[in-house]
């Protein structure tokens, strides 16, 4: 009899314990984010280039200025660590006035102009930054007083504020922390001023960030953010369905959007700027050195068919190298609307009416491979056979820089003005296999003047006109064929309030901000 009472008591005790712990869980202000990644590369903001890096870096750092949360319109850039600024009449000298009382994580003290100088010089140095080239025009950074810093540029920059925003080299780090830890340790233990700071890093599993109580905009509403590295789509989906994950990177496919949209309590976030998918025709390789052949390929590709294949909700057309959502994007360019007959005529004129074969390498990553398979099929219809070798993603980036492909499919997102894309993909200094190479795969060298003039132009309308002219030239010479933009897709539990309206972000993920929170039931 006694044993029965003890058993009943123990069961009630356990039940109450479980319920109490469950109710404690319900109040927990923790967001778990699952991203398609095997690990972080670097969370030193001057080296982070992958989506997982961006996702982890953004909540830890601030910059002098920032994009409006959830909106990357360059015209809506706001003050961040700088309260205000003024510019010299020639646009070359910028003076920034810092907020007072901004604290770094983990007792690394107050932000001063010395930290800003150190951070920008670190970003501009190729030995300490992956984005040094973006800062080529930065002449010197001077500390005027504890809260004032002056930047002098050697030449006009298309968007100084864009360079200094919360993206890539614009983030401000703690000078004291870098000097104390050394750069290598800093890469996994960075110190910033953001609402969250590194707490735990488990390689190949997760990075945990905890609240930074001294954050200058106010105490962050979440206690903790966990970034899980989950390369497998099915596992992310299962974990999300079970509720172990609150925000989950999705597949950029219509079927995924439709399926996950039906899961109760799920919000699907589809946002920009998306990544541009562009085919670069290598004019140094036969037969693509003939403009008639390049035009034939352009007319043989059906953008609409590709977008149908990838999904209507997750794509939008791209008719020019620069999307219209970027400053300087235009639609007033030769369009090359799908016309198989015209394509065949061009091939005939080039003496290739029987078609030809192109040998390509392509990455195994589905964001590249699936569209390229679709292009392969479309080109087959006009007799152009594309033989594809599927290789690892890092190998693909190595091989295309060695100029092995006659056609390069490149997927990218850049700062939303025309200059970065035009400069990196169409300036002669960026031609692959040259010492200054970046990603000019088409070997195009006819718009250097337009790019340079536009970057020096002080009037926006004139600048836009120069950029538009450059884009027309690219398409008239048919050195590239813009395919479409694929947007970013995330599934989010409806109890997670991001704290802002998500339209577009350069972090490429549902970004966690200081006012992101778990809604009470």
């Amino acid at each position: 009899m006694k044993l029965r009472y003890v058993t009943v008591f123990a069961m009630v005790f356990l039940l109450v314990g479980v319920m109490l712990s469950a109710s404690a869980d319900a109040r927990e202000q923790v967001v778990r984010v699952a991203l398609k990644a095997s690990d972080i590369r670097s969370i030193d903001p001057d080296y982070g280039t992958t989506t997982i890096d961006y996702a982890c870096i953004d909540p830890m750092f601030n910059a002098l200025v920032r994009f409006k949360p959830g909106d990357i319109d360059p015209e809506k850039i706001q003050p961040d660590l700088a309260e205000g600024w003024n510019v010299s009449p020639d646009g070359l000298v910028w003076t920034f006035y810092l907020r007072k009382g901004v604290k770094f994580h983990k007792g690394y003290g107050e932000l001063t102009a010395e930290d800003v100088k150190f951070s920008l010089e670190k970003a501009a140095n190729k030995d300490t930054s992956g984005f040094a080239k973006d800062f080529d025009a930065l002449g010197k950074v001077e500390v005027i007083d504890k809260y004032t810093v002056r930047l002098t540029f050697k030449e006009k920059v298309p968007s100084v504020l864009g360079l200094l925003t919360d993206y890539h080299g614009g983030f401000i780090v703690s000078k004291k922390a870098v000097e104390e830890m050394g750069l290598e340790k800093f890469k996994t233990n960075p110190i910033g001023t953001g609402p969250f700071m590194v707490h735990e890093y488990v390689p190949k599993q997760k990075l945990v960030e905890v609240r930074h109580d001294g954050y200058f905009r106010g105490r962050p509403l979440l206690d903790r953010v966990e970034f899980w590295f989950m390369p497998d789509a099915s596992s992310r989906e299962m974990a999300f369905r079970k509720g172990e994950i609150d925000i989950c990177e999705g597949e950029r496919e219509q079927a995924w959007v439709d399926k996950m949209g039906k899961v109760p309590g799920t919000v699907i976030d589809i946002f920009g700027p998306g990544e541009t998918l562009t085919l670069h025709f290598n004019t140094s390789k036969k037969p693509l050195d003939d403009i008639r052949v390049r035009k034939a390929l352009a007319y043989a590709i059906s953008r609409e068919e590709l977008m149908d294949f990838l999904g209507k909700d997750v794509t939008e057309p791209l008719v020019s190298p620069i999307p219209t959502s970027y400053l300087g994007g235009t639609t007033e360019v030769p369009l090359y609307t799908y016309d198989a007959e015209k394509a065949k005529t061009f091939l005939k004129q080039a003496g290739l009416e029987k078609g030809f074969t192109l040998k390509e390498v392509i990455t195994e990553m589905s964001d590249y491979r699936r569209p390229m398979e679709q292009i392969q099929e479309q080109l087959r219809r006009i007799g152009v056979k594309v033989q594809m070798d599927v290789i690892a993603h890092s190998a693909y980036h190595g091989q295309i820089r060695k100029d092995v492909n006659p056609i390069v499919l490149y997927v990218c997102a850049r700062f939303p003005t025309a200059d970065p894309i035009l400069r990196q993909f169409y300036h002669s200094k960026s031609i692959v296999l040259t010492p200054t190479a970046i990603t000019n795969f088409s070997h195009y060298d006819k718009i250097d003047n337009l790019i340079e003039q536009a970057s020096r132009e002080t009037q926006t309308e004139k600048q836009k006109a120069l950029w538009a002219k450059a884009q027309r030239s690219i398409l008239e010479d048919a050195v590239a064929y813009p395919l479409c933009i694929t947007k970013f897709v995330f599934a989010r539990k409806d109890y997670v309030d991001l704290g802002y309206e998500m339209k577009s972000t350069l972090t490429l993920v549902d970004t966690i901000k200081w006012n992101t929170r778990i809604l009470e039931e």
């Binding site: 590369r41 488990v202 190949k204 190595g398 200054t436």
Partner: protein, 313 residues
């Protein structure tokens, strides 16, 4: 016996040297390099070259090889070319998870596979044998990731009994075990299929032997006949299979690690290949090779325990 162990142990040095040498040159032949992976797709050619110089990858390959061997002899495992963290630290963090998974998968495989093998052998061409054979065929044919997702869907998502993600907290045994159940069963079920088939076929060979018939004729109980006379002799090939698969399991559990988002050496190795992280890959291969070598030695030594006629000199 002692001399045999010493002799075999000494062989580990040339074996590991051969393995790391092959891996060292093979990974460098494959296109792509760690600099692009580390710097990202924004990097200019100039930055890529600078990082390659910093990593020492622009030196002649033989110089790199000799430096690598010298460092290895001094116990310096170097740093990951991608994360810049010491490889030894990364391995130390992942190794416990790999050991957990391998041991648990192996133990489950043995605990389920050997009894099933014996039972189906004793019920040859009866219903339990048919079920056992079909079951083991399914187990062998089923891809690890598919079984993992299936178990995850039923036991984690639908029944809410186990977690979907992570390997648990290394300092908390309860959490580790809780996170281990589904991944261990994923591997354990597949191992069960292999072990049960091998045990069954060995038992079928042994139970028709003269000494088994003699034991029965002498009036020895059936239990004694099976467990003492038959099973002991049937275990030699089964032990070989277990020894071989334990090594394969260590490195081959990568899909289970990916599906359950667990850290582990298998996952580390695969992503090191993808990112061309030479240092990490080389060291993980060294660990795997050493583990396989030791497991094989252990298997050989077990033979003499199972069958006293086997003697090592």
């Amino acid at each position: 016996m002692f001399q045999y162990v010493i002799r075999r142990s000494l062989l580990i040095v040339p074996t590991l040297w051969a393995v790391v040498t092959v891996v060292f040159f093979l990974i460098r032949i494959v296109p792509g390099g760690p600099a692009v992976a580390a710097l990202g797709t924004y990097a200019s050619e100039e930055q890529i070259r600078a990082l390659e110089h910093q990593m020492g990858l622009d030196r002649p390959i033989m110089v790199q090889y000799v430096t690598f061997l010298a460092d290895l002899c001094r116990g310096n495992m170097g740093k990951s070319l991608i994360t810049q963290r010491p490889v030894v630290k990364e391995i130390a963090q992942a190794l416990p998870y790999t050991i957990d998974l391998t041991v648990a998968g192996m133990v489950l495989g043995i605990l389920m596979g050997v009894p099933i093998g014996i039972f189906t052998a004793l019920r040859r061409n009866e219903m339990p044998d048919y079920f056992g054979r079909v079951g083991s065929l399914i187990g062998i044919s089923m891809p690890e990731f598919y079984l993992g997702i299936l178990l995850m869907y039923v036991f984690a998502v639908k029944l809410d009994l186990f977690p979907v993600i992570g390997g648990g907290d290394l300092r908390d045994w309860g959490s580790r075990l809780y996170h281990l159940v589904l991944p261990a069963f994923t591997l354990g079920i597949i191992m069960t299929a292999f072990i049960s088939r091998m045990t069954r076929s060995s038992m079928l060979n042994v139970i028709v032997e003269d000494y088994v018939r003699t034991a029965r004729a002498k009036g020895v109980t059936e239990r004694m006949v099976i467990y003492k006379h038959a099973l002991r002799n049937a275990l030699i090939p089964t032990t070989t299979v277990i020894g071989l698969y334990a090594g394969i399991l260590m490195g081959g559990s990568v899909l289970t690690e990916i599906v359950y988002s667990r850290p582990g050496l298998g996952k580390m190795m695969v992503f090191a290949v993808k990112d061309r992280d030479y240092m990490t890959l080389q060291m993980v291969i060294v660990i795997f090779s050493a583990a396989v070598f030791l497991l094989n030695l252990l298997t050989d030594l077990l033979y003499s325990l199972i069958d006293p006629r086997i003697e090592y000199r």
